[in-house]
Symmetry: C2
Subunit: 339 residues, 2 copies
């Protein structure tokens, strides 16, 4: 790139959170063309310093004025803050990439995983949508893997069981596990129940249909991102005492039959995927090895011998990275040269 | 029962292991009519004392002679020990209830879960088989739940993802997790890889077909216990850092349609099952709450809205109890009055 490359003013709402801090790390790692950052946080954290690329910034509270010169605003401060500030930022000319669930199912808001549907970011006139939603972590890693398989074999049905990291609840989630493991008494359970030495089949709130909101995100967001309402996802989401990423056991039924070696090659050559599948070397994806990586790791690839045209696999991705911050920054990368 | 009730001499092979010790606890808890016990262990542990119902016993090494007056022998010392001693004990007149995988798929050996197929214990002449196999832990808890559903709706297909306790590897498995959490360096990984803060999709050894032996046990043992080779089980088994029991996410497709309230009532009234299914009270099965209990806990009961006649659920049971020791003692209870 030339030295005259355009650079962007990037706001981060929720800069003190685990995802917000990871967003800053990833902007730097991926050499995103940042002119400067505008770190935003609640009144509690405003005034504190934060460093980025060797410069020190002071955290501010969000306001209409603060978004005036912002090109791209990465939001990760929860649905309430997103509902309050997204349209304000957009009205000031900032493109908002929102990590909350506030706008994901809004038909006017694109829900984007760059490996899957990057084109959804842009309107017919070539301009980007002013609010772009970043999907739920469990959904992102799944659709990265489903996309090439759907194009080749056409997916009919997915049954998924998740093994989700405590960092899905941010720093509070991580701290809860640590203090529980240290034997400290918890007044309230961040993960609904104690998570140390436990597995809790309850992420986000229960809906009337018996599924949790986390589960219904996997059902609905997958259809929207894949652009195919015929794909059915039947999920069970479970929190377990790990940090490094979310695991998912997937059983995928296709319309067309497949060859397992072709599946392996197809996935290995698809963007954002790293195949780790050598049982003879005890190699398969794990949260410990996916930690701080950007890929979706795929392994345990094997035919479901008990049902036709059906595949079993196990995938893991770092939920703070590809499941949140990396995906948001990858969306921002699509905007480079288009703003 | 009258004071003249017949009592039995019960040998425990592997009395120092987690399952062996739990067997002793459960014999006592359930007031099994024991005259005395014969605790057996390897040369390393022989000579050590063990207490049972207030009496002290000396551990012995197994030998032909030691089985001479034994009525029932509970084996839990691994497949090698079972292969070496089961036929010896049987030839001495002891009925062997074997917790290893050595004889499970032997067509001459019944594989028994008392809630499912108690009749398989006995031959046509009314005498019990001299070797009776106790199934794999993951299989036992699943078939307890599948049995009443199969009778009512006829099961076609089960997709199962497991969340398995470290105690599946006995004391070594528990100690590995504790020392890893304490930050102690492990020379060898009991769970193939570090298990603290991890999820390892690898239990027992890999087979040529890409499934692990643990997974194939769920496939094959389920058919044998249920007495129906048409039931297909498609499994992914995963070790996670919990103690209290194994979790399983089940997706079950039936031939006949069901009513979800009827399913709940059917399970609640079936032996060995405790329904814990009240999302409004954050009530569902968990390893922490299943610990040291004998039931299979069932919850998260909900229709798979994306596939006809299909049910999702989440079950947990203490793998050392119903998954091993309790089931073995329940088999022994079937023998009372029949030896």
């Amino acid at each position: 790139m030339s030295s005259t490359q355009k650079t962007y003013r990037v706001a981060i709402l929720g800069a003190t959170g685990l995802v917000g801090r990871t967003m800053l790390d990833i902007l730097e790692e991926r050499r995103f063309p940042v002119s400067d950052i505008v770190p935003l946080a609640s009144a509690r954290s405003a005034g504190r310093e934060i460093s980025f690329k060797g410069r020190t910034y002071i955290m501010q509270e969000p306001s209409k004025e603060v978004f005036a010169d912002v090109d791209i605003a990465l939001f990760s401060a929860g649905s309430g803050a997103s509902r309050e500030w997204a349209s304000v930022a957009a009205s000031q000319g900032a493109v908002v990439i929102d990590n909350s669930s506030a706008f994901r199912m809004d038909p006017d808001v694109p829900l984007v995983v760059p490996e899957v549907n990057p084109g959804a970011i842009f309107r017919e006139d070539g301009r980007p949508a002013m609010i772009i939603a970043n999907p739920n972590c469990s959904t992102i890693q799944m659709v990265v893997v489903l996309k090439p398989l759907h194009e080749r074999y056409h997916i009919r049905r997915v049954i998924v069981s998740t093994y989700q990291s405590v960092t899905g609840k941010g720093k509070a989630g991580r701290d809860a596990l640590e203090s529980e493991l240290a034997g400290e008494k918890q007044e309230s359970f961040t993960h609904v129940h104690q998570i140390a030495y436990n597995a809790v089949p309850h992420i986000d709130v229960f809906q009337e249909n018996g599924y949790t909101k986390e589960e219904m995100k996997m059902v609905n967001e997958t259809r929207k991102i894949m652009g195919d309402d015929a794909i059915s996802v039947s999920p069970t989401t479970v929190r377990i005492p790990v940090y490094g990423g979310h695991g998912e056991a997937l059983n995928i039924e296709f319309d067309d039959d497949f060859d397992i070696d072709e599946v392996r090659r197809l996935l290995a050559s698809s963007p954002g995927i790293a195949v780790q599948d050598d049982p003879s070397q005890d190699l398969y994806p794990m949260p410990l090895t996916a930690y701080e990586k950007d890929e979706v790791f795929v392994g345990r690839l094997r035919r479901d011998y008990w049902h036709p045209k059906t595949l079993n696999m196990w995938i893991v991705a770092d939920n703070l990275r590809k499941g949140a911050a990396t995906n948001a920054v990858q969306i921002a990368e699509q905007l480079v040269g288009r703003l």
